[in-house]
């Protein structure tokens, strides 16, 4: 065996520059961390984004208002329905219309299912990257049960494109409530099993507690929202503070952490899954009857198919909405909702006519991600993995 002299094995004193990503397996979402390392210690971290930039906002200007929906599916693709709803609410705000109660409740139900899916997959990935592969399998399987329910409603597992301006594509299928409750029951059991595997696990606790911590003050300064902000103790939830849809009629708690570390972010998400299940349970019980979209006479939704095929009035309406788009009056609005990662904002401008003049997105994880250097500075290289995972950066949303 070759002989080494001892001084050769001493780690160099000069900081080493290391590229983590963009194709590092733990950098899910294609992002690059340009690290400056002193041995294993992170001296500095420069987060470089934009690898998934697809010109989403510019592309919106080329289609009709309705044709933006498929793009929103591809923002945070872990919870597309929440993006659908956020965009629909923005355009409805500009149009000055409110969707009927049944539509509001269905949007709440589907949105909360999407939130559970998002939190499941975020926690699953974070656990897996810390070696807890079983938890990953449990939670991703749980998401799959929910995907089956969503697929039955929307026709797609992920890219649902189910919302419409002024309503939803169609009503819920027969027996939806029972199947959703069954799937949720299994999901909550899986969440509980995961919890049992992790929250008393020495390795998991060592890797997450006090790691990636941030104060409430710093988090607010960075513009943090969502579970990440709540993990620091700030009970800011758009659903509570600025209620939309039917959220003010539903009873739920806003779980908060105290230390703002990886552990708190993980636990807040777990607890939010339970709160979402609570919301869904109440909403299913109270689900009102009635139309799933605004009346045809507003000229916003595609009219009834039978009438479209047999009467000239609805043929014209269908024709105009498809070829020219919904006519949105000139103006601009900022509309914001609580998406899985936090405050998802749409700032839209209309100059009148069937196409958006501007559609700007405020992606929650963009603000959250910019604190990553502060979270990992001075920590060990492996701490980046759970910290990055708990921030839940989603490339589609962050880069757009």
């Amino acid at each position: 065996m070759e002989e080494y002299r001892e001084e050769e094995l001493i780690l160099p004193a000069d900081p080493m520059v290391l590229n983590m990503g963009p194709s590092h397996p733990a950098m899910h979402g294609t992002v690059r961390c340009l690290l400056r390392l002193d041995g294993e210690q992170v001296v500095d971290c420069d987060v470089q984004i934009g690898f998934l930039h697809r010109g989403f906002e510019k592309e919106c200007e080329a289609g009709t208002w309705t044709q933006v929906f498929p793009y929103t599916d591809r923002l945070n693709y872990a919870s597309p329905l929440l993006n659908n709803i956020g965009y629909a609410l923005a355009v409805e705000k500009l149009l000055g219309i409110t969707v009927p109660p049944r539509c509001q409740y269905v949007r709440v139900i589907l949105g909360e299912v999407a939130r559970i899916c998002d939190h499941c997959v975020c926690n699953a990935a974070m656990a897996m990257e810390l070696g807890a592969f079983t938890v990953f399998l449990y939670l991703v399987k749980a998401r799959e049960w929910l995907f089956e329910v969503l697929e039955e409603v929307t026709g797609a597992r992920v890219t649902h494109c189910f919302c419409r301006i002024g309503g939803l594509r169609h009503d819920l299928p027969e027996g939806f409530g029972e199947r959703l409750r069954a799937a949720l029951q299994k999901t909550l059991a899986a969440v509980e099993d995961s919890e049992k595997l992790l929250l008393r696990n020495r390795i998991f606790l060592d890797r997450t507690m006090e790691v990636g911590a941030i104060s409430a003050e710093r988090a607010l300064a960075y513009g943090w929202t969502g579970p990440c902000l709540r993990s620091t103790g700030v009970a800011y939830d758009v659903r509570k503070v600025h209620p939309y849809l039917a959220y003010d009629e539903l009873d739920f708690d806003v779980p908060v952490g105290s230390r703002g570390d990886n552990y708190d972010r993980f636990v807040v998400r777990l607890e939010e899954i339970r709160q979402s299940a609570r919301i869904i349970d109440q909403a299913l019980r109270r689900l009102p009857d009635g139309p799933i979209a605004v009346p045809d006479d507003l000229g916003v939704v595609l009219p009834d198919k039978i009438q479209t095929y047999t009467t000239i009035e609805r043929t014209i309406q269908h024709f105009k909405i498809v070829t020219e788009g919904i006519q949105v009056p000139p103006g601009e609005v900022y509309s914001y909702t609580e998406a899985a990662n936090g405050e998802l904002g749409f700032y839209i401008v209309s100059t009148g006519g069937g196409r958006p003049h501007k559609c700007r997105v405020r992606p929650p994880c963009f603000a959250n991600l910019q604190a990553l250097p502060e979270l990992v500075r001075g920590r060990l290289l492996p701490d980046i993995i759970p910290t990055f995972g708990s921030i839940n950066m989603i490339g589609g949303e962050c880069d757009r």
């Binding site: 006479d297 507003l298 009219p303 000239i312 043929t315 309406q317 024709f319 020219e324």
Partner: protein, 507 residues
């Protein structure tokens, strides 16, 4: 002058102005089917009803003359309900035709339904609809669908008042009313496509445009009609490199809001018989060539003939820019002293729009050459006699058959499409159509009218200045331009001052 108030805003207009015109001057749009700025008032559609204070019934704005102190409201619940009712009645017997109707997308019925009605049908069965004639051939260019007709009589008034050929009439009464061609006639006057243009709905449609393209795909570029020396202002409607129609563009001083049938169909000059690649050889020996080879062949043939026996043929079909480029090239690179002119043969004229000279830029050729070109007939004579042996010719058309051109030892044709001149040439160089290069036409009245490029040249066609600059290099000579931009800069000062043309279509 009369002072009145419309929707709370005061305006002073001349005596005799209608409320509708006064409202338009204020920017208040009052919906209408039958009213047209160039036609007499019919006031039959009732879409323009407005509320006038101290008058118990709603009044048609298109007919009502303004009076001092008149207070008009165009957007009250009564007015809205009246408009809604008008649309409901008009749609009562309307067929479910939008998916197969060419007008869909630019149809006033569709627009007004979305703006003023948006209610569901109250007709409980389709059986209740009155059936009428469909697909009635009115003339060579126009087809009629009586079920779609709203009987606004714009077409009847257009034929009677503008063309002064009252070929269209209204027949029958009540819900059986429809438009018909006068017995023993067909709608075959020179402006028949304008009846389809003034039709606010899909009742009269162009047979040429029928089922060719959905209108919302069309891109409109302002242009000048290349059909004759009048130089009517128009829009070229095109999609993916294919042209579909010319549409009148308002110019009150020139064509008002009309085009003749030949003008609407002049877009065929862009689509049909195009020359898209350089070619060498004639008749059966013709073959496709690369640009290098075609230019080398052209240069070699031109060199063999002494300067005194070379000529250049300018084209009244082509823009000032292209003609100036050719004239300059011919003088400086070829030493040519003889300039001829080609173009399409003369045709029918009238006192409305059509000019006997079927070329858009004959006056422009003279401005660019600074002299009167020699007639095409003399070129044919001299070529036959052998006193001229080489020519560079712009344009595809020839006013007279020119068998003698075959005797030229070198005929280099620069043309956007096939025709007598390129067919007689040994070298054919493809150039852009009127839609593919910006340019200027000078019309018979001496007005210079610039027009932009609608789309890039088709195939391998090169802009004429570019092409000539390359040919000049092959002849080891130079010309004082390299690109279309250089030519535009040089041509600009030589043009009569351009007349500003107004934008926008007929209401």
């Amino acid at each position: 002058m009369r002072k009145l108030t419309i929707d709370g805003r005061e305006i002073e207009v001349a005596e005799g102005t209608t409320v509708l015109a006064a409202a338009r001057a204020l920017g208040v749009e009052i919906p209408h089917f039958c009213w047209h700025p160039e036609l007499s008032v019919a006031a039959n559609c009732r879409m323009c009803l407005v509320e006038v204070e101290k008058q118990p019934k709603l009044q048609p704005a298109c007919q009502l003359e303004v009076a001092d102190g008149m207070v008009v409201h165009t957007d009250t619940p009564r007015v809205r309900e009246a408009r809604r009712a008008v649309i409901e009645y008009l749609l009562l017997h309307h067929p479910v035709d939008c998916p197969i109707c060419d007008q869909a997308g630019e149809c006033k019925l569709q627009d007004y339904y979305m703006l003023y009605d948006r209610r569901a049908s109250r007709l409980w069965s389709e059986e209740g609809k009155v059936r009428k004639r469909k697909r009635v051939i009115f003339g060579p260019h126009v087809i009629y669908d009586a079920e779609r007709c709203v009987l606004c009589t714009r077409c009847v008034r257009f034929c009677r008042e503008i063309v002064r050929d009252p070929v269209l009439i209204e027949v029958h009464r009540g819900d059986h009313s429809e438009i018909a061609v006068a017995p023993g006639r067909t709608l075959d006057h020179a402006y028949s496509l304008m009846t389809a243009h003034v039709c606010p709905v899909g009742a009269l449609t162009s047979r040429d445009f029928r089922f060719q393209c959905r209108v919302w795909f069309l891109v409109s570029t302002p242009t000048i009609c290349p059909g004759c020396a009048t130089g009517c202002n128009a829009f070229l409607d095109h999609y993916r490199g294919e042209a579909f129609r010319l549409r009148p563009r308002d110019n009150p001083a020139l064509n008002r809001c009309w085009l003749c049938d030949d003008g609407v169909l002049a877009y065929h000059l862009h689509n049909d018989h195009r020359l898209t690649v350089p070619e060498v050889g004639r008749g059966d020996d013709a073959r496709r060539a690369a640009w290098d080879e075609a230019l080398a062949e052209a240069a070699a043939r031109l060199r063999k003939v002494p300067k005194s026996q070379r000529a250049a043929v300018l084209s009244a079909e082509h823009s000032c820019e292209e003609n100036w480029a050719l004239a300059t090239f011919a003088r400086e690179a070829l030493g040519v002293e003889r300039f001829f002119e080609t173009g399409r043969a003369a045709g029918a004229a009238d006192d409305l729009l059509r000019h006997a000279d079927k070329n858009p830029n004959r006056a422009g050729v003279r401005e660019m050459l600074g002299a009167e070109p020699e007639p095409f007939e003399r070129l044919v004579e001299e070529a036959t006699a052998g006193s001229l042996r080489a020519a560079v010719a712009l344009g595809a058309a020839a006013p007279v058959p020119g068998a003698g051109l075959q005797r030229l030892e070198a005929l280099v044709s620069i043309a956007p499409r096939r025709g007598p001149l390129p067919d007689a040439a040994q070298v054919r160089l493809p150039s852009p159509s009127f839609a593919e290069a910006a340019g200027t036409y000078v019309n018979a009245r001496g007005q210079a009218q610039p027009f932009p490029r609608a789309m890039p040249p088709r195939g391998e066609a090169l802009e004429v200045p570019d092409l000539l600059a390359r040919l000049a290099r092959r002849l080891d000579s130079t010309v004082p331009f390299r690109s279309a931009a250089d030519v535009r800069a040089a041509v600009g000062p030589r043009l009569p001052q351009p007349q500003p043309a107004t934008e926008g279509g007929a209401p």
